[in-house]
Symmetry: C2
Subunit: 459 residues, 2 copies
């Protein structure tokens, strides 16, 4: 049994509704992987007994001094393709068609288990150092991503990704993705899995139906791209007479439960459909990408929240987002939603923090496990130092978290009760080695000399 | 005579047109306040003589090891109100009218020289630590801001700010602002000044004419807010039959030379007017603010550049931008311009870096002095460390500077040849004292108990 005691720390409380607040001078008691109690810091270091929730035989805790720091729920990256950090900066200033067809999908011909593992390790390092304690991934060679997550100490929901293909090799690849999804789900307490069809425009209705059947049978969710842009929605209507959301409904994906990446092309008429499955539907919003690719729309969060669908915040892959910095994504959500609704009073700091915590926890399929600092939850905690000049003076710590904090302000990070970052240093991996491996393999990922592509973008 | 030698550093080169590049392994030779030579690093530390540009009696240089670092032109914050860091986070989730009328202008009743000085010192600290070497300021009690700039080692262009007022006290305030503008312009080589009428909607045409006359007589520019939103432009047309840009023309402001803050409401029909004064007109773009206040538009940079007007990048005040982080502003310019033009191929990393360097130098009125690393220019240099996980691997350092770098990646900063930040620490001010002063006075700035306001927003 292991214990950690974070002493004398301010704690961000994000209620289900209404204003967030900061409870000052608290002790967070962690036992094994969970928060067992949060109590006001006693004045004398040994003034009180440990809370009764602590097991009598739990032993002495490792004490983390939280003085001057703010404890926030570990951030959750609710949609990413973590190994794509290996392509960071290799596909700039391109329209979405060229980004896919001239760069990314030709580059992905180069994927190997080793290269994916090296990328995933780098991604885990970047995220943990920034206070990201869970990522929701959608990529190939997910076994390697699981290994990196387990090693680094981060939590992950992994969706082994597949496309449809007319040939039997394509069906074999889908079967293999399904098998990996099952296998990885029992490998480690920090790893969960979802089924990972790529998108409504790259996977056939037949394969989506098969996926939905399996999801229902296994009690698993489906994580996929849908209605990424309004152009995609229009193309789907033109070709098939239905919106991508209608495709998800008729194939049973919504009934099974889906995490929809982006959804910028979700239309008004899709909302009543999503409302019927609101208890099991979530959408991940990654707005930096929508601006960078000039996609024309951002996720219609207001409409989605009104239907009861949970919305989380993510970075998408670093081949377009350039970072896995969830702080940056949180800020962009607030800014772009105010812009979208022409309303500066909308997407308040409270609501933004709620999306970033409770919303993203739901998107990760971990609604009752993470995203909130309270007894019984997993001890996924980031300690943030707001004393640097760019955050000072503090009139409102919530505003600091949304509008001025930097990832570099994260000092200490726990995942499942383990201290994975201490004084801005990873405790679980040799960062020098991680960086050296990434540097030595980076050129192999962006090599276009082989020709070919894993897929063609023509939604 | 002082010398600094930055050894073995990669150097960002931003040409007037075309692609930027990085020249690897260079020595930057600084003498007094200027770059005198940039030469390839000799293999042996003492392999060569100093360049002939170095004065023979200049003595030994202070050597800065630039290994593994990228030298970029010191960033320029081309429009801000630096002391407003004291109100950071104190006016969130408000429409522009309420932001002005319920918070900012009532708060500014509390301005005193001491509070402005304390705020300006904090602002200078924040900016220098982030690699910002010049700021273009527009605020009250500019004498105090000058003192903070001089002390901290940063470069500043200061516009003592004024409103019109019907009473003689108002005219006295304008006279005082004019006098301060003149006085400060000779105080220190790092300080220049501009005339600072607040805006076309808070200063009468008569006072703008007086300002323009004085500007022409003194050879000084005018820094003011104009056409901040399209609503302002429409209001100006409804009330006066002219756009704000037409007001600037008919009052002689454009003829004198203007730095226009924001200009999101600049219309197509304004562009031919601006084109006539393009040699002396600049516009500062601060896009985070436009989204946060849901202003509906961003600066029409494409049209402005086509007229030949220079465009710079700024943060505006931290009472709305929440940071003075110019890296953040640069990124937001790229993202929001792609969005505005519905074109992901527009506002490339090269063009974005050009705005951030040459464009902002022009906006600062220092077109030939700063913004470029080349012999003869002021030695305003930021050394950036791109080796942290969030920037790696590097396929394109230009993309890293626009899309993944953090202000915390800035290691060392020179302004006018003086090392003002060394290993992420200020050399010129006691940061602990700066922060303590700001903290102790912060509540006095946001006190609304006195009532009143310095101005009313009704454009």
């Amino acid at each position: 049994m292991s214990r950690v005691l974070i002493r004398n720390v301010d704690v961000l409380i994000v209620p289900e509704q209404g204003e967030c607040r900061v409870d000052e001078a608290q002790d967070i008691h962690v036992q094994d992987d969970r928060i067992v109690a949060i109590t006001p810091t006693a004045i004398a270091p040994d003034a009180g007994q440990p809370p009764t929730a602590i097991a009598p035989d739990a032993g002495e805790p490792e004490v983390v001094d939280g003085s001057g720091l703010l404890a926030v729920p570990g951030l959750i990256n609710s949609h990413t393709h973590s190994p794509m950090v290996m392509m960071r900066g290799a596909a700039e200033d391109l329209a979405i068609e060229d980004w896919f067809n001239r760069r990314i999908w030709p580059m992905e011909v180069n994927l190997t288990p080793e290269r994916v593992r090296v990328g995933a390790r780098l991604a885990c390092a970047e995220m943990l150092l920034a206070g990201v304690t869970t990522f929701v991934d959608h990529y190939f060679h997910a076994v390697e991503i699981a290994a990196a997550a387990i090693e680094s100490g981060i939590r992950a929901d992994l969706a082994p990704t597949f496309f449809s293909s007319a040939d039997s090799a394509g069906q074999d690849a889908i079967d293999a993705a399904f098998e990996t999804t099952r296998d990885l789900s029992t490998r480690h307490p920090r790893i969960t899995t979802s089924l990972g069809p790529h998108a409504t425009y790259t996977v056939t209705d037949g394969d989506l139906r098969r996926t939905a059947d399996l999801a229902r049978a296994d009690g698993r969710r489906i994580h996929l791209h849908a209605a990424e842009t309004d152009d995609q929605t229009q193309a789907s209507l033109d070709k098939h007479g239905v919106t991508p959301i209608q495709v998800l409904e008729r194939t049973g994906v919504l009934e099974a439960g889906a995490l929809i990446a982006h959804g910028c092309g979700i239309r008004e008429e899709d909302l009543p459909i999503l409302e019927r499955y609101a208890d099991r539907t979530t959408v991940a919003c990654c707005p930096k990408v929508y601006l960078k690719l000039a996609m024309g729309e951002v996720t219609p969060i207001k409409g989605l929240l009104e239907t009861g669908v949970d919305v989380g915040i993510g970075t998408d892959g670093a081949a377009v987002h350039n970072t896995l910095d969830v702080w940056e994504a949180i800020r962009m959500v607030a800014l772009t939603q105010k812009q979208r609704e022409h309303n500066a009073e909308w997407m308040t700091v409270d609501d933004t923090l709620r999306l970033a915590t409770r919303g993203s926890a739901a998107a990760a399929g971990l609604k009752d496990q993470v995203g909130v600092l309270e007894p019984g939850r997993q001890a996924d905690i980031a300690l943030v130092d707001l004393t640097a000049p760019h955050n000072q003076p503090i009139h409102d710590p919530r505003a600091a978290l949304v509008y001025s904090v930097r990832a570099s302000d994260v000092v200490t990070v726990l995942v499942a009760g383990q201290i994975v970052v201490r004084d801005r240093q990873l405790t679980t991996m040799d960062l020098t080695e991680v960086l050296a491996d990434a540097k030595s393999l980076a050129h192999t990922l962006v090599d276009l000399s082989k020709g070919g592509a894993v897929q063609h973008y023509a939604p």
